[in-house]
């Protein structure tokens, strides 16, 4: 009860999962437990766009939330999209249970550069802080250095820091306390 679950959707690099696990444990006051990986949901692949439908993956993830979970963070290597937008770094239920982060466009290889594990780790941390932040009711922050600022391209991810600004941090602290109080 009151755990933060980590779920791989499809095949995910083990390093990325470990980094996500460590970052979640460092930044959120809940024990982190890894769930068995979830196969890529059927019908989530869009052959025309050659991307994965984020909405379909979110639906499949929602069916796998253990009871009593504090939150569930899903990580995937798939390139995510929604009908309106060409891509997403991740998606979350605002004030809900699920956050989803895609590693695909966080990798330097996606942009034709050699792999950079340290940079990938940083970007993954920032994006999971961002998406999980949404599940605790935070909307986008106007401070560009805050993890909750909106990133519409990878350079914007690199510009922000791995951490929340004082305002977003204070909001989260209140939410963590009330959540722990409810389940204590």
């Amino acid at each position: 009860v009151n755990e933060l679950y980590l779920l791989a959707v499809g095949e995910v690099d083990e390093h990325a999962l470990r980094w996500a696990e460590a970052a979640a444990a460092e930044w959120f006051p809940f024990p982190v437990r890894r769930l068995p990986p979830l196969a890529t949901p059927e019908g989530s692949y869009d052959e025309v766009r050659r991307q994965y439908r984020s909405v379909e993956i979110m639906k499949a993830v929602a069916r796998n939330v253990p009871s009593g979970a504090a939150r569930l963070l899903a990580v995937t290597e798939h390139d995510l999209s929604i009908p309106l937008l060409t891509f997403l770094f991740g998606q979350a239920q605002l004030d809900g249970m699920i956050a989803l982060v895609s590693v695909c466009r966080l990798r330097q290889e996606f942009y034709g550069f050699p792999p950079d594990p340290e940079l990938l780790r940083e970007r993954l941390t920032k994006e999971l802080l961002h998406e999980l932040g949404h599940t605790f009711g935070l909307t986008h922050c106007s401070r560009t250095e805050c993890s909750m600022s909106l990133s519409t391209h990878v350079e914007a991810v690199d510009l922000k820091s791995a951490g929340w600004c004082a305002t977003c941090g204070a909001h989260l602290a209140r939410r963590f306390t009330s959540l722990k109080g409810l389940t204590a």
Binding site: R49, I82, P83, L84, L85, L94, T152
Partner: protein, 452 residues
């Protein structure tokens, strides 16, 4: 607070609506969705959305363009973005022609949408701010800001309100300091022209040639120093209102020019040969008896009748003494705040003194007297002693040693010269000391040919 800007997404594809709504909600917006045009109209009737995202192709009767046109009927200033997956130049042109603010092709880059939304909302915010400021400005000069309980003044305000939206010329008569400009502003800001310029020209303060170029502007090279074409006050007041203060002081030539503007609604800039058309409502103000000026042959009768379509005579303060307590309370509140003084009351004795005073400078003089008393006041209440100089002033005038053989005009001339000497030529100070406004003093300086 982005959630004050609600957004409506209209698309028959549920997944499109929901994913887009979720993305915008993460950005802090309040988002509603509608699966068709009919539902969109129901929602638009209940909520004034800041932005509408409308899909171009929707089955079941109303397509995106039709939906947009119906929304526009309900919310004429709405920002509508048409979305489509099948872009053609024709549909884009049609959408824009029918009033779409933007046209986007699905899928689009997240940055593009983010910038588009923030750009539209930035304009909305400025529009809202503008509307609030305009409202505030209009409120500042509404009739209720003319403080009175005098029946004659109330009739004037009713008349001002009735004529506010007409184009007819108004002539406001009243002594200096009675609030002629305030009434003129009240007329302007209560009428259809409220959102347009209100321009004031003091006709007494300028010489004939200066006033001519001030009113009508001039062309490059019209006179020495005319380095470029300059628009005059009439052009600046186009679509709005021009107040010609101290109209009784203008020269015969300008009277003729002004008559032409009033009759033809056009004029020539100084040194120009191109006719300039103008639509400015004219309000004229004077402290003179223009009918008498006409009888004396100093003012054109045809111009007088043109100006005097609607006449408003503002009574002097001594004819509406019942307003003195109201005005006093208002000025004490206003000026104490401005001067940072903790004075909030006035004693009965002091008020009686103010009621008994004749106020030749009218409301302006009363305001100045209260300001002076507040500056020197030591307590939290204005007392009779704070206005002692008012009495002294009157008393000092009593034993005035009257020269034997002197005309009233000469007496006035000498009083002005003496005051100007005392104020070292400072007209503003001299005007305050003489209890008249600056434009009146300028007019008298001109009339008596007193050098400055």
């Amino acid at each position: 607070m982005k959630n004050i800007w609600p957004i409506l997404i209209v698309d028959d594809e549920e997944v499109m609506c929901e994913s887009m709504a979720a993305w915008l909600r993460e950005d802090g917006y309040r988002v509603d969705t509608a699966p068709n045009g009919r539902m969109a109209l129901e929602l638009a009737a209940a909520t004034d959305y800041a932005i509408y995202f409308v899909d171009l192709k929707m089955p079941g009767g109303m397509d995106g363009i039709e939906t947009m046109m119906e929304i526009r009927k309900l919310r004429s200033d709405s920002s509508i973005i048409i979305m489509t997956a099948y872009a053609t130049v024709d549909t884009a042109i049609q959408a824009m022609k029918e009033g779409a603010q933007e046209y986007i092709v699905k899928p689009c880059n997240p940055q593009e949408i983010s910038l588009l939304v923030s750009r539209i909302l930035k304009v909305k915010k400025l529009q809202r701010e503008n509307a609030i400021l305009r409202k505030k400005l209009t409120r500042t000069y509404r009739h209720r800001d003319v403080i009175t309980k005098n029946s004659a003044m109330e009739e004037i305000l009713t008349l001002a309100n009735d004529v506010a939206s007409l184009r007819s010329t108004v002539l406001i008569r009243g002594e200096s300091g009675t609030g002629k400009e305030l009434v003129a502003r009240a007329i302007h800001y209560s009428g259809d022209r409220a959102a347009k310029p209100f321009v004031t020209v003091s006709c007494a303060a300028l010489t004939e040639t200066l006033l001519e170029s001030e009113l009508f502007g001039y062309e490059k090279g019209a006179f020495t120093g005319a380095n470029g074409q300059t628009r005059g006050k009439f052009e600046l007041a186009n679509s709005g209102t021009i107040l010609l203060d101290e109209i009784g002081d203008i020269s015969p030539k300008l009277q003729a020019d002004l008559l032409r503007v009033l009759q033809e609604r056009c004029f020539y800039r100084v040194g120009g040969n191109q006719e300039v058309k103008v639509d400015a409502r004219v309000i004229a103000a004077t402290n003179r008896d223009l009918a008498e000026e006409v009888r004396q042959g100093r003012f054109r009768d045809d111009l007088y009748y043109r100006l005097n379509v609607i006449e408003i005579r503002i009574p002097p303060l001594r004819e509406r003494r019942e307003d003195v307590p109201l005005l006093t309370t208002h000025f004490v509140e206003k000026l104490a705040h401005e001067l940072g003084k903790e004075v909030s009351a006035i004693s009965e004795d002091a008020l009686k003194l103010l009621m008994d005073h004749d106020w030749p400078g009218n409301v302006r003089e009363l305001e100045n007297a209260i300001e002076r008393a507040l500056v020197t006041c030591k307590g939290r209440q204005l007392n009779e002693s704070d206005f002692a100089w008012l009495g002294r002033g009157a008393a000092a005038r009593q034993p005035f040693d009257m020269p034997g053989d002197i005309s009233l005009a000469d007496l006035e001339r000498r009083a002005i010269i003496a005051t100007l000497e005392r104020t070292h030529g400072n007209v503003r100070e001299a005007a305050a000391s003489l209890g008249v406004d600056r434009s009146t003093l300028y007019e008298k300086l001109k009339r008596y040919e007193i050098p400055r």
